[in-house]
Symmetry: C2
Subunit: 277 residues, 2 copies
């Protein structure tokens, strides 16, 4: 049976890319503040970059913003990515960036919404409520979830960096490392990954050590100042995979998006070459 | 200027109640799996219980489940609660249970969606991303946010109970206490509360000690086994307020919802009487 991460790896092989392209229709990027404009903006990005996209990551917030019509636009966008994938002959995984997290009976409704109704392949989740808030998503054997681990925003340290008392004889560890360790142990279905920002290479390397098998979704290269080569060196798995480099604005706002995506894809390949992958 | 918690306290005084009534249209409760049935179910609860509701808490997941039409139903439900409030002559605060949490530019879209477009007065948020993920919600001076602190689900302990290293000379504290301490320090606008489950009275008492001024939203009485009197004794603020007892199923599934709500309201008043409030 196909799992989410075997599906993702197939696409990564097909396009020789580790690029996850964020679809974040910020109001500032739209000609008109309408759901139609948000959809058009994202469809334009998909059309211009599909050859180089290992995955797409639409952000629920910017559609939810438009209420019911935004929800329809999100649904239409996901359908359009699937159609574009079929045209390419290689299915591109769709990661819904929703950062949900709730008790089990509520999480079940969110999971059905994302996977059954919208048709996303994977979702981002917040781990603060613990394993039983994740389980309803893992109950979909072909779907996946990236748990927030170490994010790239300024306030990430408020809680994620707090030192947690270890087992007797073990030194304290940052909370985000505990999240990584538990996620690694929960990943019995090849369906759990971690969100680890690309802006802090030391953190990336520590999470990689704590979760040697997991895929990372790593935002922060480009607009937020993360260095691509350093991030890849710190976070890639031993097989030269295991890391999706997420970019949004630096593609969306490029004069030539296709060229911007191609260059980023090639830059990643080059770094991988230097690392002998 | 009115803040969210001054607004809430006005309603609490008007109805002599600390009852927050959850509006969670679980599929199992609906005659048909449609957004219309979800809306009708919630409208029925509102109509029968408005006299005793200090607040209503619609749960976004069960509307999101129905996609665009669900989003319209949620919007209609919030408008109907406002209309019912006007009929009563006392506005009932609406807390959107959404448990959102994202980086600032995304959080801004979620905040506008909840407050400007849906018209909710308050929202539940997940604190894992830190202060800058909360700020866009606090930027609405008359709105409020309850941060997840200590939840009532079985997996809550996976992260929330982890012991965090304290300042030099101070013993380690559970992560949820650190959340409470920071929330208390961030509450300069009388707009931050905490979600603290009613199922663990010791935790309630510890959070109360760490956040003496904050309002708690406390689920877990009834279906999840929390004892009302014990919870109130552990969590009430020194002024006999500061705690919303959230109930969903025990009202929604009662034969006579009005009677069930009245009895719970009175039971709370009785316990407060015993405590000399």
């Amino acid at each position: 049976m196909e799992t989410f991460f075997s599906f993702l790896e197939k696409r990564v092989d097909d396009c020789s890319s580790l690029l996850c392209i964020g679809l974040d229709p910020h109001l500032a990027d739209l000609e008109n503040p309408t759901p139609e404009a948000a959809l058009d903006f994202c469809l334009g990005i998909v059309k211009e970059t599909s050859t180089y996209a290992a995955a797409y990551k639409p952000n629920a917030a910017f559609f939810e913003y438009f209420g019911a019509k935004g929800w329809d636009a999100l649904s239409e966008l996901i359908a359009a990515i699937k159609a574009e994938s079929q045209r390419l002959g290689s299915m591109i995984p769709i990661i819904l960036d929703a950062k949900r997290g709730d008790i089990a009976s509520t999480a079940e409704a969110y999971a059905k919404s994302a996977f059954d109704h919208l048709g996303a392949d994977c979702i981002t989740l917040n781990p603060y409520l613990g394993k039983d808030s994740i389980d309803p998503f893992l109950a979909f054997p072909e779907k996946g979830a990236f748990l927030l681990c170490k994010t790239s925003n300024p306030g990430a340290g408020d809680f994620q960096d707090l030192l947690v008392v270890g087992a007797t004889g073990h030194p304290p560890l940052p909370l985000y490392i505990r999240v990584a360790e538990l996620a690694q142990s929960w990943n019995t279905g090849n369906n759990i990954g971690l969100v680890v920002g690309a802006t802090q290479p030391e953190a990336l390397a520590r999470v990689r050590a704590a979760a040697p098998d997991l895929w990372f979704l790593s935002p922060g290269v480009g607009a937020q100042g993360g260095d691509l080569a350093t991030a890849l060196k710190s976070g890639l798995r031993k097989d030269g995979k295991g890391m999706l480099i997420n970019v949004s604005r630096s593609i969306a706002r490029a004069e030539n998006r296709k060229k911007a995506a191609a260059e980023l894809r090639d830059e990643i390949l080059q770094v991988k070459g230097q690392l002998n992958f």
